[in-house]
């Protein structure tokens, strides 16, 4: 008894093409939409105070370390307290509507609830001072903050992304005094700089040990 029409003899071909297309599209879908490049990059929460990095760090040229004081000494770069803001704003724009929350915080002593943009999981240990003191620039991980009206996440901050830099042949470093410079370009003898730096300090980038970051 003939159960199936003639065209069903094409089933193996249809099946193979179908399986291939299904797997291909499924993995492409997960690859794209599941990756931190899609889920995390571009995260730009609205902060309680409409603070503009472009105005302060870019146009007026305030150094990163004026507010993020911990970056050279500790694992945390430090979100500046209200006092840092009021250091200037006691004199400048004292009655600006935008600064209402800052003045309130100054009077009540309750800190402003800034929203954290660059989040690392708790099981990953990251130390700002180690990176900055080795000559890793702010821009390498945070992007060009000096041109951001609202700060957003530029890099995926995934483990693979960390390792890309940790495992690359040439560490992404620069002279220490240029770390906060957003417009630094490598000089002609950059390669010499890197190799002499590595010679002097040794390449201590942790690569093969889980417990360097997952303590």
């Amino acid at each position: 008894m003939q159960l199936f029409p003639r065209w069903t003899n094409n089933f193996p071909g249809i099946f193979l093409i179908g399986i291939f297309l299904l797997l291909f599209s499924l993995s492409s879908f997960i690859w794209y939409y599941g990756s931190p490049y899609y889920t995390d990059v571009g995260y730009a929460p609205t902060q309680p105070v409409p603070y503009s990095h472009k105005l302060h760090a870019g146009d007026m040229g305030i150094d990163c370390r004026y507010c993020h004081v911990g970056v050279e000494q500790s694992y945390s770069a430090v979100i500046p307290p209200t006092e840092t803001c009021m250091g200037c704003h006691t004199y400048v724009k004292t009655d600006s509507e935008k600064l209402k929350l800052v003045r309130e915080s100054w009077e009540t002593g309750k800190p402003i609830e800034w929203i954290k943009v660059h989040m690392l999981p708790e099981y990953a240990y990251f130390n700002h001072s180690v990176h900055v003191n080795s000559g890793v620039a702010c821009i390498s991980c945070h992007g060009n903050i000096a041109e951001m009206e609202v700060v957003y996440q530029v890099k995926p901050l995934s483990m693979d992304w960390c390792l890309d830099c940790h495992r690359s042949d040439t560490p992404e470093i620069r002279p220490k005094n240029e770390v906060t410079n957003m417009y630094w370009t490598p000089p002609a003898d950059y390669d010499n700089f890197v190799s002499s730096w590595v010679e002097q300090h040794g390449d201590e980038r942790p690569v093969g040990d889980c417990q360097k970051c997952h303590r």
Partner: protein
């Protein structure tokens, strides 16, 4: 004497394995008759209902486990591995008989396997599925279980291929896939039989789809037989490798009681032992419910009992060698670990194991007991209880006495340890009962090979 003709060897053999006057037609009718039954037997419905309710318990417990985490289990410090690994090893062990019967006995041309191989292969499949549940859920965060697989990911991280736990994953995964292919390849001609005998159009189409358009031509059989033979050939080292690899989960650690080279052969023997126990239990039930006493005969049960006797003695030997080596090594920790097994707070687990695995099968030296169906049934269940206790002894009794007496603790399973274990029976029996209902439980094509007239040269023998 009615029949004065001298019987050929093949005829004598066939009479033992397929008693009564059978030919190709009656064999097909008998075996294919089971999935073709109009009315499902009431026993089937009762068992299926029971299996489904156990499956519901399983789904609920695993759901709660995923929600809550592995803290709902009784694992503690120092017993980090509890029922999950016990049950995993137990189910994988049971899953060994299928491929052993199908592959190794096929290579040795043991025709008696033909009545039970399908059965055993199916049991293997569902047992391995039950086993694979445990490594899946024991990670707690089940949504990252894909970390087992070497696939590129956002962490740039790969599994540690030097770790026995990853070997284990590869071994069990390969074993499952190869068993599935082996099972399905064996089913193709039988599905074609069911397709050609089916009464309704829907059944014809479904069986016809899975039969892949099998026509039974010798140009097909030629490649088919070679493929089947090669699958049997490669499954033989595979089945021996799987439990060896499972044993290296333990043996490569430096825990006294685990760190021994006897583990791989001892685990493989135990796996075959428990697998045959399970095949015995299931085939006794099935031949009773479906009146297949003339296809799964006493001869088959006898042969399985002999294999159980052999493997039972092998594990018994391993148990005693462990003690000998512990004493002979002069290692105080090793000696303590074994004395603690037999005389420590969990002495009952150890002696339950010895009784079920070593003492009980000694009755199989006598043909009377090898052919006594109620005795076989009880023994086959006892063997699997014993094999469960063996894993309990290895995992819990070894861990609960750590190197440091300060860390010593007892292990108490919680209700969720029990319910997930009981629940896997639901998973197993749901699948197995569906198989019994819709697929031939004995290979129709291969059962015919036992008949002497299937061999065109049988007249020329002797």
């Amino acid at each position: 004497m009615m029949n004065n003709k001298i019987k050929s060897k093949a005829e004598i053999r066939a009479e033992k394995l397929l008693p009564g006057n059978q030919d190709f037609t009656t064999l097909t009718d008998d075996i294919a008759g089971v999935p073709e039954q109009k009315k499902t037997p009431i026993q089937w419905w009762l068992l299926f209902g029971l299996a489904l309710s156990l499956l519901a318990i399983f789904a609920g417990s695993v759901g709660f486990l995923i929600w809550e985490g592995t803290g709902i289990w009784g694992i503690n410090n120092p017993v980090f591995w509890g029922w999950a690994i016990i049950n995993f090893v137990w189910w994988v062990g049971i899953g060994h008989a299928g491929t052993l019967i199908s592959a190794i006995l096929h290579l040795f041309r043991q025709n008696w396997r033909n009545a039970i191989n399908r059965f055993a292969e199916t049991m293997t499949l569902f047992a391995v599925i039950c086993a694979l549940v445990f490594p899946g859920i024991h990670v707690g965060r089940i949504w990252v279980a894909y970390w087992f697989l070497p696939i590129p990911n956002q962490m740039g991280m790969w599994p540690n291929m030097r770790s026995p736990l990853i070997w284990d994953f590869f071994a069990v995964f390969t074993y499952f896939t190869v068993s599935l292919l082996f099972w399905y390849t064996g089913l193709i001609p039988d599905l074609a039989t069911l397709r050609d005998r089916a009464k309704t159009n829907l059944k014809r189409k479904i069986y016809g789809f899975f039969a892949l358009g099998w026509r039974g031509g010798n140009r097909q059989w030629q490649h088919y037989e070679l493929a089947y033979l090669v699958l049997a050939g490669i499954s033989t080292p595979l089945v021996l490798s799987v439990h060896s690899v499972v044993s290296s989960d333990f043996a490569t650690s430096v825990i006294p009681g685990w760190h021994t080279t006897i583990f791989p052969p001892y685990f493989v023997a135990g796996a075959i032992y428990s697998g045959f126990g399970m095949v015995m239990t299931l085939s006794i039930i099935a031949r009773k419910v479906y009146n297949l006493g003339h296809i799964i005969t006493l001869e088959h049960l006898d042969k399985m009992a002999q294999i159980m006797l052999l493997t039972g003695c092998m594990v018994g030997y391993a148990y005693s060698m462990e003690f000998f080596v512990a004493w002979y090594s002069g290692n105080a920790y090793e000696s303590f670990a074994f004395v603690n097994r037999a005389l420590g707070p969990y002495w009952w687990g150890y002696w339950a194991m010895i009784f079920c695995n070593v003492v009980v099968p000694q009755f199989f030296w006598f043909e009377r007991y090898r052919r006594h169906i109620p005795f076989l049934f009880i023994t086959s269940i006892l063997v699997n209880i014993g094999m469960w206790f063996e894993r309990f002894v290895i995992v819990v009794i070894t861990l609960h006495r750590d190197f440091m007496p300060g860390a010593w603790a007892m292990y108490n399973p919680t209700i969720f340890d029990v319910s997930i274990y009981i629940g896997t029976f639901g998973l197993f029996f749901t699948g197995f009962l569906l198989f019994l209902r819709f697929l031939p439980m004995v290979s129709i094509a291969e059962a015919k090979l036992v008949l002497p007239e299937s061999n065109p040269h049988h007249g020329h023998e002797e």
